[in-house]
């Protein structure tokens, strides 16, 4: 299998070194860039499969750079950021960032996020049909049923819609706005996330935990992320 090519953009040499070593150990090929100018030339030269981008660059604001890149290039982007305010995060999703990792982060967390983005983007066999397994849960996308440890789980229509959206996009942050648009067909206006959040709370209670771990991660004010690994049923992969 061909190794995936990553471009890591980070001006701090220590972090650059650590990130590179982590990703190389995990089996990726890594090229480096230390500022915005280098990033743009490297994007042209190496055509990476994924861009890991630190927002605090010496020569240009990371957000401005991203907007420029997005005009011509659809490469998936994972952002490293020290800004943890809700507004900053929402702005990132608006301009098409695939995921973000807040500094300080654990190297293994970074690898997990990178893998999740890559498999979402490039491994699209059988999406939207068949059976998905995740911990004790089995979601049958064709029959629209869910079982938990072999027993049928009764979900409301909206709860099922949420669950199936999550298991089809594991590890991806789905913002309130995205969820409301996909499932309720409305936009996020002030205060309208209430229904969504209550439905999520009910869903959370019904699916329980995955060996003591939550299935769904919460970033209050931003959105939710499916945490547990999801497997496609074998017979569909053939």
């Amino acid at each position: 299998m061909i190794k995936k090519q990553l471009l890591v953009v980070e001006d701090d040499p220590t972090i650059q070194r650590v990130v590179k070593q982590t990703l190389v150990t995990a089996g990726f090929t890594v090229t480096q860039a230390f500022n915005a100018r280098e990033t743009q030339s490297q994007l042209m030269a190496t055509l990476p499969d994924l861009l890991v981008l630190d927002l605090g660059l010496p020569d240009e604001d990371g957000v401005a750079l991203l907007k420029k890149i997005r005009l011509a290039n659809h490469v998936p982007v994972l952002v490293l950021t020290a800004r943890d305010q809700t507004q900053d995060k929402l702005k990132l999703f608006e301009i098409g960032v695939d995921d973000y990792v807040t500094k300080p982060f654990e190297p293994l967390e970074l690898v997990a996020r990178v893998r999740a983005i890559l498999s979402r983007t490039y491994d699209t066999t059988g999406v939207g049909k068949g059976q998905l397994h995740c911990g004790e849960l089995t979601v049958d996308l064709d029959a629209k049923t869910v079982t938990k440890a072999g027993e049928g789980l009764h979900l409301s229509q909206k709860e099922y819609a949420l669950l199936s959206l999550f298991v089809q996009h594991p590890q991806k942050v789905l913002t309130y706005d995205v969820l409301l648009r996909n499932i309720w067909g409305t936009h996020l206006l002030q205060g309208q996330s209430d229904t969504l959040r209550v439905t999520m709370a009910h869903l959370r209670r019904k699916i329980g935990t995955n060996a003591g771990q939550q299935y769904i991660g919460t970033d209050v004010g931003v959105g939710y992320r499916w945490l547990a690994p999801v497997e496609q049923a074998q017979y569909f992969k053939q």
Partner: protein, 860 residues
């Protein structure tokens, strides 16, 4: 000067208003006070600082037993009166600064206190950031007053304005079955046995109690729906037209209930006949309307209905409410009903007519009216009338030599009557001239001459017609005269006011603006007033001042409400104090002599103050804008600085953390190196947490975090915080137990999570080597309770005292146990900002932190 961190954290807490909880009952003895004390005990047990401000146990043993557990603020005893009942001691309560103070009997009228009413006392306590629990019965609610009076036949004097009650954060209805209440009464649990029989006769009857209970239920649900109602949907606007009639009072109360049911604005309007002072009853109605939160308008006009129609057209109001006497048919003969006249002009208008049930006999009313006719006649006018009659009679005498046509002579008498009516004041001389003219005409010019008899039959009718038409002409002319006089005075006032507005444009300093207004008032009213444009500085001449004038000025400035003679606060003062400005923004105060200005004068005075309010507001807004621009620049610089500092600090820490993590994964490291790496890892984590805390404290201090709460799910906050916590403590196992109900709270999500992460962090540290934390969420008595337990060593007594009594971290001596540093102190502050409470305690398996904050609502 740099404020201590404790001082500014206290400032942040004090800026928030205290919460008001009202225990509402429908009769004495339902258990309001008991329930309030019960709730207070729960709060006390949870570690809140709860004290008693004033409680009346009425000798009920169960209540008295509950009281004993609380600290009581010494009451203020009225001076020079038998000290039977003390009053709530407001300054003592504010000085003591408890979390919650209990004050019984909200509707109480103070015997000898600064404020006339207890609810005004409570308002002051709330403003200073202290929460209040209080009790009230439905019959003391202003708008329900006459409804309850009709049902029970008991007229209550002490009432509380609804507008004030509406600000309550919680209302708890104490509802028991009326039969149970009656049983309690007969068992002597409510009143001493000797009074039971009397109570049964008056108030405590099953039917009455059932009705009262219904009203109480309605009131509490209405309050709820108001709290939930979304703003910005103004469907209606109610207009109440009032007169001196008692039915107007019913109409006002009715309108108030309608308006609050629809959450609509409402206005009370009175048409004032030209050139008269406001009747005392109308003044009373207007005061009532203001108390109930209405806008009040006084229109000048001679024709009540026409003026009213013009006003309705202009304001496009769709709902009119009027009071009406139920009158006998004979009394109404020949008069069009006011509502019919209005409907003819405005067919689309909705009119509600509120009858008056008070019985005043028509005879009594007929006997009553002649008193209003005043026969004050000026001598100059009498000479004028007499001269006129003599002149006309002489001319007519001359006319007899020219023609024998009497019609011409009648015409001349008419001219005389019109002149007299036009140039004299009042109706009286016009009518008298008419009578004298008719008599003289008959005496001198109708055969037989010099006698009141007449031969020709037609003359009887002529005299009658002459008398009637002369009377009509006379009254019409008098009216026109009076109206002209009024419009002249209104025009003068308008002229003076518009001159004043123009003058105020020429200057922009508060002192100069106040001087101009003060002079205009003195010129117009010929009476002296003083205007304060700052707390200490004033222009003009202070009237005979009361002893504690400066304190009253402070009070008015703080509350923005009128005080002194003729108002509800300190009515006993000689002077009166009118605030200048807008609700919540007092920009100045006018002080005048209470005896020199009638109530009508004060309404006019308010018109003089409007241009000053506007001018002062412009001045302060401009000043504010300049300061704001500077502050904004400053805040942006600070926020940029914080942003870059946090970036600069986090980046190297990330490097350290990630490097050690990589090294630790290398299995070839020696055991001692592994241990060293683990140490570096822990220390770095601690440093990161510390920096986060310092950044939060700095943001709070700089005001870059605007403390704005939003409704949040408790579990969302906890799960989100757990996830962030786990980035740094991946080895820790966290168990979370959620209740079936979904709980909403009001929280600032960022700093709330910061608090939770700090608490988790402490749970780990105090757990010794605890690698497991249990978090449980429960809901009890309107509080969301988050319990965080570890399974390590319990807290020592010293640690418990340190955490629970919120001592400021001792920065000088160094912090041997890092967990007790700024982290927990910050947690306590954040909990307080959320009206919550953080308590450390021990459970059998180890240490425990319990956080409780008010739950907004719960969904099953």
């Amino acid at each position: 000067m740099v404020k201590s961190s404790e001082a500014w954290l206290q400032d942040i807490v004090a800026q928030r208003r205290g919460r008001l909880k009202i225990f509402l009952g429908y009769a004495a003895g339902v258990g309001k006070t008991y329930r309030m004390l019960e709730e207070a005990q729960t709060r006390l047990a949870a570690g809140d600082d709860v004290v008693i401000g004033h409680i009346e146990s009425h000798g009920r043993a169960a209540t008295a037993a509950l009281i004993s557990g609380f600290e009581q603020i010494p009451e203020k005893l009225p001076v020079g009166q038998p000290a039977l009942l003390g009053e709530l001691n407001v300054p003592a309560v504010i000085k003591r600064r408890p979390d919650v103070v209990l004050v019984d009997e909200l509707a109480h009228t103070n015997a000898a206190s600064w404020n006339q009413k207890r609810y005004q006392d409570i308002e002051e306590i709330l403003t200073s950031g202290i929460s209040v629990y209080t009790t009230i019965n439905v019959q003391h609610i202003e708008s329900l007053h006459d409804l309850v009076a009709q049902i029970t036949g008991v007229d209550v004097q002490e009432t509380v304005p609804d507008a004030w009650l509406h600000q309550a954060d919680d209302i708890e209805l104490i509802d028991i079955d009326p039969k149970v209440l009656l049983n309690r009464l007969t068992a002597g649990l409510i009143y001493p046995t000797d009074k039971v029989a009397r109570a049964q006769d008056h108030f405590f009857q099953l039917q009455k109690l059932t009705q009262l209970r219904e009203i109480a239920l309605q009131q509490s649900t209405q309050q709820l729906s108001e709290q939930n109602a979304q703003q910005g949907q103004q469907i209606r606007h109610f207009l109440v037209a009032i007169s001196p009639a008692p039915s107007s009072e019913n109409a006002i109360r009715w309108a108030y209930r309608q308006a609050s049911a629809f959450d609509a604005p409402w206005t009370v309007v009175h048409v004032q006949k030209s050139g008269k002072n406001l009747a005392p009853t109308v003044q009373r109605h207007i005061n009532l309307a203001k108390k109930l939160g209405a806008k009040t308008v006084i229109l000048q006009g001679d024709h009540v209905v026409a003026t009213l129609i013009a006003y309705i057209r202009e304001t496009q109001v769709a709902n009119l409410i009027i009071g009406k006497h139920v009158t006998r048919a004979w009394y109404q003969f020949g008069r069009a009903d006011i509502e019919d006249q209005i409907l003819a002009a405005l067919p689309a208008l909705d009119i509600q007519i509120i009858p008056n049930r008070s019985q005043v006999s028509p005879i009594h009313r007929l006997l009553g009216w002649p008193k209003k006719l005043t026969l004050s006649v000026q001598r100059r006018d009498v000479w004028f009338a007499v001269g006129m009659i003599v002149a006309v009679t002489l001319i007519n005498g001359g006319m007899t030599y020219v023609t024998s046509d009497n019609a011409l002579k009648i015409m001349f008498y008419f001219v005389g009557i019109i002149f007299v009516s036009r140039f004299t004041q009042g109706y009286f001389l016009g009518l008298a001239t008419t009578a004298v003219s008719v008599l003289l005409f008959d005496l001198l010019f109708v055969r037989p001459f010099y006698s009141l008899q007449f031969y020709q039959n037609g003359y009887g009718i002529i005299f009658l017609a002459m008398f009637v038409s002369a009377t009509l002409i006379s009254s019409l002319t008098s009216k026109v005269t009076a109206q002209m006089a009024v419009s002249v005075s209104a025009a003068t006032q308008n002229q003076v006011l518009s001159d004043l507005s123009l003058q105020l444009l020429t200057d922009d300093q508060p002192e100069a603006l106040s001087t101009l207004t003060q002079q205009a008032i003195v010129n117009y009213f010929k009476r002296s007033v003083a205007i304060y444009f700052q707390r200490q500085k004033f222009v003009g001449q202070m009237p005979n001042q009361d002893a504690d004038g400066p304190e009253v000025i402070q009070w008015v400035w703080h509350h923005g409400l009128p005080a002194g003679a003729g108002t509800e606060t300190l009515a006993g003062k000689k002077a009166f104090y009118l605030p200048i400005g807008y609700p919540g923004h007092t920009l100045g105060i006018l002080v005048g002599d209470g005896d020199a200005f009638t109530l009508a004068d004060r309404l006019a005075l308010e018109r003089f103050l409007t241009p000053l309010s506007a001018a002062l507001k412009t001045f302060y807004l401009r000043q504010e804008a300049q300061r704001h621009a500077l502050e904004k620049l400053d805040a942006r610089l600070k926020s940029d600085l914080l942003q870059s500092v946090s970036h600069d600090l986090r980046t190297p820490l990330t490097g350290i953390l990630a490097s050690t993590e990589l090294l630790r994964q290398d299995q070839t490291q020696s055991l001692s190196n592994q241990r060293l790496l683990t140490n570096i890892n822990h220390e770095t984590n601690w440093l990161i947490q510390m920096i986060e805390n310092i950044l939060t404290v700095t943001r709070l201090q700089q005001g870059t975090i605007v403390f704005e709460t939003t409704p949040e799910l408790v579990e969302d906050l906890i799960l989100s915080a757990i996830e962030k916590f786990k980035w740094l403590h991946s080895q820790i196992k966290i168990d979370l137990t959620l209740p079936d109900a979904v709980i909403w709270v009001q929280a600032e999500r960022h700093i709330f999570q910061q608090m939770l992460i700090n608490i988790f962090d402490n749970a780990v540290k105090y757990g010794g080597n605890a690698v497991q934390i249990q978090i449980a969420v429960t809901v009890a008595q309107g509080q969301a309770i988050i319990t965080i337990q570890n399974s390590g060593q319990p807290f020592t007594a010293a640690q418990l005292a340190k955490i629970n009594h919120q001592t400021r971290p001792n920065m000088q001596s160094g912090d041997q146990q890092r967990g007790l540093g700024i982290g927990l102190f910050l947690c306590q502050t954040i909990a307080k900002l959320h009206h919550g409470r953080l308590v450390a305690q021990n459970w059998q398996g180890g240490a425990e932190m319990q956080l409780s904050i008010p739950a907004d609502k719960t969904t099953a």
